[in-house]
Amino acid sequence: MEGSQDIFAESIVVRFAGDSGDGVQLMGTQFVAATALSGRDFATFPDYPAEIRAPVGTTFGVSAYQINLGARPITTAGDAPKVLVAFNPAALRVNLPLLEDGALIVLNTDSFSARNLAKAGYSKDPRESGELDGYQLVEVDLTHMTLEAVKSFGLSKSDAGRCKNFWALGLVLWMFGRELEVIEDWLGKKFAKNEQVREANRAALHAGHAYGETAELAAAMPHLKTDRARFDPGEYRGVRGSEALALGLAAAAELADRPLVFCSYPITPASPILHQLARMGDLGVGIFQAEDEIAAACAAIGAAYGGAIGVTSSSGPGVALKTEAIGLAVNAELPLVIVDSQRGGPSTGLPTKTEQSDLYLAVYGRNADQPLPVVAARSPSDCFETAIEAVRIALRHMTPVFLMTDGYLANAAEPWRLPDLDGLEPIRTRSLEAAPGEDGRERLFDRDPATLARPWVTPGTPDLMHRIGGLEKDIRTGHISYEADNHQAMTRLRARKVELVADFIPDQTVERGPDHGRLALVGWGSTWGAIYQAVRQIERTEPGVSHIHLRHIVPLPKNLRELLERFDRIVVPEMNNGQLATVLRDKLGIEPIQFNKVSGQPFQVRELVAFIRKTLAGDQASNVVPMAQGERS
């Protein structure tokens, strides 16, 4: 029987929030596992502080995990949560402004002490001040109930208290009518050797679930329901961007039948890729944790020189350090993939927050004329395909390639229909062997006419001994050359090599909407989900609005200019101050309208919808919008 307070919706946004040490991230990932098996579509967004364990109870130590789940295609983690589970007053205070009107708030009342209220900056208890009027409150003495539930397992008080995320998870799973088996399976595997912890968490999970059931009898606990989503037939799993990216690199290595050497220096939010690959040794993957960012890039170049697939990975500050080495790979014409997991900047900036502000760095950010291809992933599962594409370009064209991702994609998760790997084209490379009696070195720089790539000749190849390096080389022999005409020709050749990549990439298509019309939103990277959803929402009332999303940024697809000219207005929403807009002006000579958000948070669908409406209503002739308009007040 459904009570009046029950929530039934096409999709529901849930947010868990607490101290860094409350286990909120784990609770989120486990909730996702149960959601996935229930047949709902979902997208997640972990939003955690830079501090590992910030002082307990403070607003800056609040860690959150948001999940949007439901029946319709879910492409973002959702704008405004409909459900908040707050483990303490600070979590309530930080997250309250994000919530939908009338949202359901589950509060851990045990944490609402005078001290914790003061730490959160509350002068009065918000439960009594009227601040929470209009919200649906479920107050649970969560800590106390957890301690009760696990007291027979003999854990210390602090260890026992740590089970409260599983208690809360049990309650939320009850609200959604989910089974507990998948969580129990996970506990069984994770704590296979620690029966005490395993059983205590299992008991907490069941206690939370039972609490929901008991409270239901008193009509005090709402049900939360969404329909199942309609998925294309196939085998699915949940995947985070960092996992998909690591798997994509491994898949590319398999397609090229070469080992993968991944060289990285720890940095947020790029490190999860290193951790993922460290466990993929049996896929022919080796990882090297270098002494610094420069060494990581150089070691990847050394590995590529030896014939492996060299990949280096970092975030903005680290990529900045790698730029000289990237130039070496450009000049030596060695394949290299540079993964940039972008974060808020400049300098150390906002390490755990997301941004798209390294596009200039990738496209323009090196000394001298040194073009190189740039590709960008759009969603967690798309990291897989884009990683393969980056390696494919690097090996086919013998060039470093930038693979752009960001902090949102690194940590966000979604369901993923597993790709058919047998259907992927092998990655072919071109080597060289000297015929008996031939001086094969005359052919070391015989370039493939379609790509202008040189053959990949690695040490150990008999009779082809030669030298490569950072000095300018003769266009025919590869020897050092300071000749004026030769440098001009080599500069042209390097540019042409990158231009020729365009012959190998598909024409740009439209993600959603007509192929001509009043307005096209042109995005790149992790804004895909929000832009797609905005167009989906607006298309019924505002026809002629389309979404175009770029995977290839350097070079751009050949038909892009022609495609964009079919729209009256081009809007470029970006989580930076207008970097793709600059590239489009530069490469296509068009004048896009910018919509920029640089807050460390992803776009919300409603922000985009509002901007589209405003733009459509505006002066037809004007297509220059002050940047301030893009910022939220």
């Binding site: 699915y236 270098a290 030896g306």
Partner: protein, 330 residues
């Protein structure tokens, strides 16, 4: 399968472009001779360098060569050894390249014990950029950037290497055909990182900076060629090194009068190595030869033995995708 190679076979056809009289010529000759003597093959030998006069070296060797960027040769060579542990890799660097801009990489290559030879040409000056003082320049060095003399303390390359955890430390003089040749062969035979400091004369910007001990007329008095298991003597065997327990330091003694006090070289003793490396003229001779050698597990050995499959592809990505729980639709 192939004929025995000579030193000449390891000389490339490239025109050598060091200044006439540069110590690098002698080193190049010694290296090509050593390559022939140890039976190296051209296709499996790789020279990796950074930037500076010394880093031109790969162009002149008939092998594979990679002239990389300033200071980063050890990092590039580490990636190469990781991917291709069977290759015979030599890193050529200088005092600026290896100890200033690339000091961090040198430290970690030595600490990790990556299996390549590191030849550090020390001439105590930046040659390619026209004579500025370097991190090994002695205090008081007058140069374009220190017209009134440098005031910084100098780094001692071998002391740095020892502190970094190097397992092979040797020293030689560019023009000392025999001494340098022996050191290069020993460096080649060593498993792991072999660090070789070569005193190299920059004829243009720092001429004769090592003359006080490298000059022929001072050789006997100022050079001590160490050899494992042999007494530490110099000056044609007239003087030797003894350990003064009271001052915890070395002292020079009459090798016949105090023969029983003369130390016998133990190349596995890092304390003795430290004392030998730190000896300063004019009170002491300069120690040359293999000063420290104590092999340990190499980086490549560690990498491949700790790797799940020794870098072999034994599983399929299609299965790896399904390592987590999956579900079917439709």
């Amino acid at each position: 399968m192939s004929a025995v190679l000579t030193a000449r076979d390891f000389a490339s056809e490239q025109e050598v472009r060091w200044c006439p009289g540069c110590g690098d010529y002698a080193i190049l000759k010694a290296v090509t001779r050593a390559l022939a003597d140890v039976g190296a093959t051209r296709e499996n030998t790789v020279f990796v360098s950074g930037i500076g006069c010394s880093s031109r070296f790969p162009y002149y060797i008939e092998s594979y060569g990679f002239h990389t960027i300033h200071g980063r040769a050890p990092a590039v060579a580490t990636g190469l050894k990781l991917a291709r542990p069977e290759l015979d890799v030599w890193v050529v660097t200088g005092d600026g390249d290896g100890l200033s801009i690339g000091g961090n990489h040198l430290l970690h290559a030595l600490r990790r014990n990556v299996g390549f030879k590191i030849l550090l040409f020390n001439n105590e000056v930046y040659g390619l950029t026209k004579g500025q003082y370097s991190p090994t320049s002695r205090p008081g060095t007058r140069s374009p950037s220190t017209p009134s003399g440098s005031f910084e303390a100098a780094v001692s390359p071998c002391e740095f290497a020892l502190g970094a955890g190097a397992r092979f430390i040797a020293r030689a003089i560019d023009v000392d055909k025999q001494g340098l040749g022996a050191v290069l062969e020993a460096a080649h035979a060593h498993q792991g990182a072999s660090f070789v400091e070569i005193f190299q004369n920059c004829i243009v910007y720092n001429e004769d900076v090592f003359e006080s001990f490298a000059g022929k007329e001072h050789a006997a008095e100022r050079q001590l060629h160490v050899e494992h298991g042999k007494p530490l003597v110099f000056a044609d065997g007239a003087r030797g090194l003894a350990f003064n327990v009271a001052t915890m330091s070395l002292e020079v003694v009459d090798a016949s009068a105090e023969a029983e006090r003369v130390l016998v070289h133990d190349e596995t003793n890092s304390t003795v190595a430290k004392l030998l490396i730190s000896m300063k003229e004019p009170d002491f001779p300069v120690a040359l030869g293999v000063i420290y050698r104590k092999p340990a597990k190499t980086f490549e050995q560690g990498f491949y033995s700790s790797h799940a499959t020794g870098m072999k592809r034994t599983a399929k990505v299609a299965d790896a995708l399904r390592k987590t729980s999956t579900w079917w639709v439709g």
